[in-house]
């Protein structure tokens, strides 16, 4: 009688255990799904602000007495990488002279963690880096400048009085020469 009782108890225990095990399995499955979801969203902790064009646009129209150099670039764009040191040098020299340099990155989302972050870290980039993630390029390219065909590097220099757009690369001398036109204008 006792034996039968123990056996029954064991059976109940066993069944409930397998039941629980099954439940655990389900829980595990959901967690796995969540993890997968997190993986596809691995850019959530990317170190730079990500904007669509509406989010970026105010940075192209500030009227605060500063001169802004807005450079459109990508890590896969060789001439962009070649001219990057000149933008950094100009920023280092002019940041106390009311000049801001904003590097608007156009890398694809799958490159933000793998290429963009390592590049900025390795080069110790000091200028402000933001990401523009907006596939509707035909809508926003003309809003940056009607002159822009879509090639990069491309650079916008502006302050409250003056605005110029360049679909080309810069050397250090060329960049400072262009910037001088803005800074001199500014002090007048």
């Amino acid at each position: 009688m006792n034996k039968l009782f123990v056996l029954g108890l064991l059976t109940i225990l066993f069944v409930s255990c397998t039941g629980k095990a099954k439940k655990d399995g389900e829980v595990l499955e959901t967690t796995e799904k969540e993890e997968v979801a997190l993986e596809t969203d691995e850019n959530s902790d990317v170190k730079f602000p990500v904007y669509d064009f509406d989010g970026l646009e105010p940075m192209l129209h500030k009227e605060d007495g500063k001169t802004y150099i807005i450079n459109f670039w990508a890590t896969w764009c060789q001439p962009c990488i070649e001219e990057m040191p000149y933008f950094e040098k100009v920023y280092a020299e002019q940041k106390d002279n009311n000049v801001e340099v904003i590097l608007v990155n156009l890398d694809m989302p799958n490159m933000w963690k793998t290429r963009l972050e390592p590049y900025v870290e390795k080069k110790g980039i000091q200028s402000t880096v933001v990401i523009l993630d907006d596939p509707k390029q035909n809508d926003w390219i003309p809003k940056v400048s009607e002159e822009w065909g879509g090639g990069i590097p491309a650079t916008l220099v502006y302050n409250k009085d003056k605005r110029s757009f360049y679909e080309r690369s810069f050397t250090y001398d060329e960049l400072t020469e262009e910037l001088d036109k803005f800074i001199k204008n500014n002090s007048l």
């Binding site: 896969w76 001439p79 156009l106 694809m108 596939p135 390029q137 035909n138 003309p142 822009w148 879509g150």
Partner: protein
């Protein structure tokens, strides 16, 4: 009355300044870059080496009604993002008489990944169904005015030659083919084949500058 006069005066002055500014801009552009083709221009034919070793010209396609001349390359992430869509365009429009003719415009000494050997590899890997031509010496792309990859020129075969009907991007979402709202090239080819107006005739996109 006085107000009206002032208004007209201001308007005239604005017009004058605007036309002057536009004139200056046009002159600048003329000096700075090669013009390339606009809509309605007759595009040049060419004889370029295909990845299969043959020479290919537009005049080889006797039954074509037009062409999708697409400047593209191996190395550009945008070009890569569009490879499958270019293959799909060829599958859809070659039977309708508008085949894809792809041209690789980069100089391989500047971009080793775009060498002729690598072009052959890429075409084989991806199973290109269309000619993939090497613009050796970079003579053709400047005449078209291609500036980036991928850059599409839709041509219509007419009595006076191959007339440019559309210039620009393939569609409005390079990242995700399933998120495309406007299929610019398909709309343009469909309109051309139906004898309808193409709208838009030009679009802009970020691409890899041709080197």
């Amino acid at each position: 009355m006085k107000k009206t006069k002032i208004f007209i005066g201001t308007a005239l002055m604005l017009l004058f300044v605007a036309s002057f500014a536009m004139g200056v801009k046009a002159a600048d552009e003329h000096n700075d870059i090669e013009e390339g083709y606009g809509i309605g221009d007759v595009a040049t034919d060419f004889s370029l080496k295909n990845v299969d070793g043959t020479m290919v010209s537009l005049s080889d396609f006797d039954n074509a009604k037009g062409f999708l001349v697409i400047f593209t390359c191996n190395t550009c992430p945008y070009a890569q993002a569009y490879e499958d869509r270019i293959i799909a365009l060829d599958a859809k429009y070659k039977p309708q008489g508008v085949p894809v003719v792809a041209i690789m415009p980069n100089n391989p000494s500047a971009k080793p990944g775009d060498s002729f050997a690598k072009m052959k590899e890429r075409a084989k890997e991806k199973g290109f169904t269309f000619p993939y031509l090497f613009d050796e010496g970079q003579k053709i792309y400047p005449q078209y005015g291609a500036t980036r990859t991928p850059h599409v020129f839709l041509l219509q075969k007419t009595a006076k030659g191959n007339v440019v009907k559309y210039i620009g991007a393939i569609d409005d979402n390079y990242q995700d083919a399933s998120q495309v709202d406007e299929k610019y090239v398909e709309n343009a080819v469909d309109a051309m084949l139906a004898g309808k107006e193409i709208n838009p005739e030009t679009t802009k996109a970020i691409g890899c500058g041709i080197r």
